[in-house]
Symmetry: C2
Subunit: 216 residues, 2 copies
């Protein structure tokens, strides 16, 4: 299975491409914004494609040619303006979903925020609410397609070493999770069709990732 | 017919409440953010209700109690940050649509931007694109409901005196339109059921508003 990783050069993205390349049944196509970012992925033996989420849907669809699944791990990051929150976290995500349809790629994994419900938008601080809203509308858009989607809602992301032990369910208690473990959860979801049509929260916990994902 | 005007204290909103109050078969309920804004509307004999688009859906639904139609003419304005573009132009609009459902109000008129297509987002300047995207997703949300919607896409808004002469169609050549005429177009749409389930662009032109609206 070949997987387009959208946002490959992000922190989760780099772990994800590494894990995919280590997995005998998976191979990554890393979507990067600049050719200068390619060497990290080439060193892992991964294919790269240069495309930007602010380009049109057709450019993203072209990047998705020949893959079997798309994973969206892109994010505008905490240091950009709220314009990028709309243009990347919402519109970039929706264009990627539309690109999947154009390219005929049915499997789509979205990395969302921990809680993107209507209530969470309302409860968020004024500085965080726009991001929650952007992720809410991106998730809603995906859920209204007939793609084979999985929406993963990770807890507060850390750069700690992964433990490969998690808790996953529709709702779990808010907690942290290393980015490396989010990448492992994505790989486990790609390998388990029971995650299709589901969304779940995931934080550090007591179960093996494979078992935690299997009972979603 | 009683109409909740969301964004009543805006420039289009004030014209709209005036025109509604002048019309024997219509009456306005002006939704305003602050009690201090009430006197303008009370002087027109209009009912007022204090509610804010950044409150939750239930607060907006409460404001919509007892009305037969909702007109959304709110906008975050050009001088606020892009956070308000998400929270008001997109999320505020969607909450108003959801509030209409809760309050059992079927008729909904949305004042959109001139062109909110996917192509328009892509073609817009980087400073304008977030606004176009926000309006695009608000329009899409409304179109996917079973409300009796009309989406009006006015040309470049001016403060000129209204001429009551317009051009209206799915696509018209880009041009200006006075805010006062947009308010007249809204009233004409409320009075013409043929506009239900339609969206149209409108600019200054040669036809009477009534005739222009009737052939949408």
């Amino acid at each position: 299975m070949k997987i387009l990783v959208v946002g490959a050069n992000g922190q989760i993205g780099r772990h994800l491409v590494s894990f995919i390349q280590e997995n005998d049944s998976l191979e990554a196509k890393a979507m990067i914004r600049k050719q200068e970012q390619a060497s990290f992925f080439e060193n892992l033996g991964a294919e790269t494609v240069v495309a930007d989420l602010e380009q049109d849907t057709e450019a993203i669809a072209k990047a998705a040619e020949g893959v079997d699944a798309i994973v969206f791990v892109a994010g505008s990051g905490p240091h950009t303006g709220k314009d990028k929150t709309i243009m990347v976290d919402l519109d970039g995500a929706v264009k990627t979903v539309e690109a999947a349809k154009i390219a005929g790629v049915k499997r789509f994994i979205m990395i969302s925020s921990f809680d993107t419900t209507r209530a969470a938008i309302q409860d968020a601080s004024s500085s965080f609410a726009p991001y929650v809203a952007a992720k809410h509308y991106a998730d809603e858009w995906l859920k209204r397609t007939d793609l084979d989607y999985t929406i993963i809602h990770p807890g507060r992301l850390t750069n700690d070493k992964g433990t490969k032990k998690v808790e996953a369910a529709t709702e779990v208690e808010r907690n942290e999770i290393p980015r490396e473990d989010v990448a492992s959860v994505i790989v486990a979801s790609l390998e388990n069709e029971k995650t299709i049509g589901k969304e779940f929260q995931v934080v550090t916990g007591a179960k093996s990732i494979k078992d935690a994902i299997d009972i979603i």
